[in-house]
């Protein structure tokens, strides 16, 4: 209708602005689909924006995108589906139950019955911000971040859930762990949870 909202980022990148995660998913999906018409080296989604980087001429690409129609919403599950087996014994299960005013069993039930989507990656290679939690199930971060969170930790913060792909410091609330290997840098597709992937957490 109004075309894409685009901000120029220096000489070689543009930022497409979106209203929310659904709109980011739609824009990202369209940009990937029409990648051949663009000369971007990187197409990077985030919470409310998608970056196109490595362009020859940011202004020209900006003008091109402003002329594109609004991206169609992503309605069906089109990408890969990954099941993540989880042992729900995280140190912060009680804290999340307290924040939501439910039992720890309810936390596990909600987390393992929700279909999540990888909205974007960041923080560390293969660290996927997964959306899908109900709007009233936000989680406050820990006041004191941990100096080391083990690889495979399943965690919550803000509106997201994620699995730590490698050991790192971190302030997210830990609710469980998985043995699934999320980050395999020796492979051509090193991240198991790339943007657009559908994720289900399975208890046990």
């Amino acid at each position: 209708m109004t075309g894409m909202q685009v901000r120029v980022v220096g000489d070689h990148a543009v930022l497409v602005e979106c209203a929310g995660h659904d709109e980011v998913a739609a824009a990202y999906s369209l940009l990937i689909e029409r990648r051949a018409d663009l000369d971007a080296i990187d197409i990077v989604p985030a919470a409310r924006t998608v970056l196109l980087d490595g362009l020859r001429d940011a202004r020209a690409t900006g003008d091109l995108l402003r002329g594109w129609p609004d991206p169609a919403p992503v309605t069906a599950i089109t990408g890969t589906v990954v099941e993540v087996p989880v042992t729900y014994d995280g140190d912060d299960l009680d804290e999340v139950a307290r924040q939501w005013d439910v039992t720890t069993a309810d936390v596990v039930r909600l987390h393992s019955s929700t279909t999540f989507t990888v909205a974007f990656c960041g923080f560390a290679p293969g660290f996927a911000y997964c959306t899908g939690l109900p709007a009233d199930r936000g989680v406050a971060r820990r006041a004191e971040p941990r100096t080391r969170v083990p690889a495979g930790s399943v965690a919550l913060a803000g509106e997201y859930t994620a699995v730590y792909p490698t050991a790192s410091p971190g302030g997210w609330q830990l609710i469980g762990r998985t043995k699934l290997e999320l980050w395999r840098p020796e492979r051509d597709d090193p991240a198991l949870l790339a943007p657009g992937t559908t994720v289900r957490f399975v208890d046990g």
Binding site: V44, D53, P190
Partner: protein
């Protein structure tokens, strides 16, 4: 009998890492681009010793370092203009230099510029990760920062060293900025003041970012939160204290603070080669 093709780190100096042209194209997976922060210097060094421009070399920091070769090689030192010695004998900077088997190449402290590149005929051939041999200090991809005694494999020579070419030297000075994408997060007064403002490079700077001290770039609405967004090389990110950081090659792929402006690509080397205490002057285009 041929000597093994090995480069031995005799003295890693302040920080020496393996660098090539990095691993762009993986930012959507949270992988920083990494690679030489003065890529033109690395490319030049590779051309001088007869390598493809993308071959891996060493990036030293501030203090230089010393590197031993079991076999005869050609080397070149580019980037920060430092003294270069082979077994104590002063040799040319910015040119291909033959190094006999069993010799030690020493890079001195650079009077100006921060990072020197040592390229070697054949290149450094540690196993690549995601298509690159670069050390990424943010995410830990690639070989760890080098320590005294480490040994690195060197490949067979690609071709004849090209000898010499006109060599640009690190230049101090003015850095041009393109405003945006989030200049509307800052006060008019701060944006006006940014044009012509001078900042000092702080000691906490590294390959992730050049931390600057100087006039605060004031947020228009203090306390407002920006949804995490993708970051680019050369972004001038401004945390709530108003003291900006220029993102270099190991920068995080996403960030939660607004970017007031982006450094023009041709001027980024000024930031990448600025040592703590150096001054950088901005001009807004």
């Amino acid at each position: 009998m041929a000597e093994p093709r090995v480069l031995r780190i005799e003295d890693a100096g302040m920080l020496t890492t393996v660098q090539d042209l990095g691993r762009p194209g993986h930012a959507h997976l949270g992988v920083p681009r990494s690679g030489a922060v003065d890529p033109d210097a690395l490319r030049l060094g590779n051309r001088l010793v007869g390598n493809p421009e993308s071959a891996a070399g060493l990036e030293t920091t501030a203090t230089g370092g010393a590197f031993g070769f079991a076999h005869a090689v050609a080397i070149a030192v580019t980037g920060a203009q430092c003294e270069v010695r082979v077994d104590g004998r002063a040799v040319a900077w910015g040119a291909a230099v033959p190094v006999p088997a069993g010799s030690v190449v020493r890079l001195g402290r650079a009077p100006s510029g921060l990072r020197a590149y040592l390229t070697v005929s054949g290149g450094i051939t540690v196993p690549p990760v995601l298509g690159s041999r670069a050390t990424d200090l943010l995410s830990g991809l690639g070989p760890a920062p080098l320590r005294d005694g480490d040994e690195l494999p060197v490949g067979p020579p690609f071709g004849e060293p090209s000898g010499s070419e006109a060599v640009g030297r690190p230049r101090p000075g003015t850095v041009e900025l393109v405003l945006g994408p989030r200049h509307d997060w800052f006060t008019e007064r701060s944006l006006r003041a940014l044009d012509g403002a001078t900042y000092e490079v702080l000691p906490a700077s590294n390959r992730i970012g050049v931390r600057l001290g100087g006039p605060a770039i004031e947020w228009l609405r203090p306390g407002e939160e920006l949804a995490s967004e993708p970051m680019v090389l050369g972004a001038l990110q401004v945390p709530p204290n108003g003291q900006p950081v220029v993102f270099l090659h190991d920068h995080p792929t996403t960030g939660g603070y607004p970017v007031v402006a982006v450094v023009r690509p041709d001027d980024l080397v000024v930031c990448a080669q600025a040592a703590p205490g150096d001054r950088i002057r901005f001009r807004v285009r």
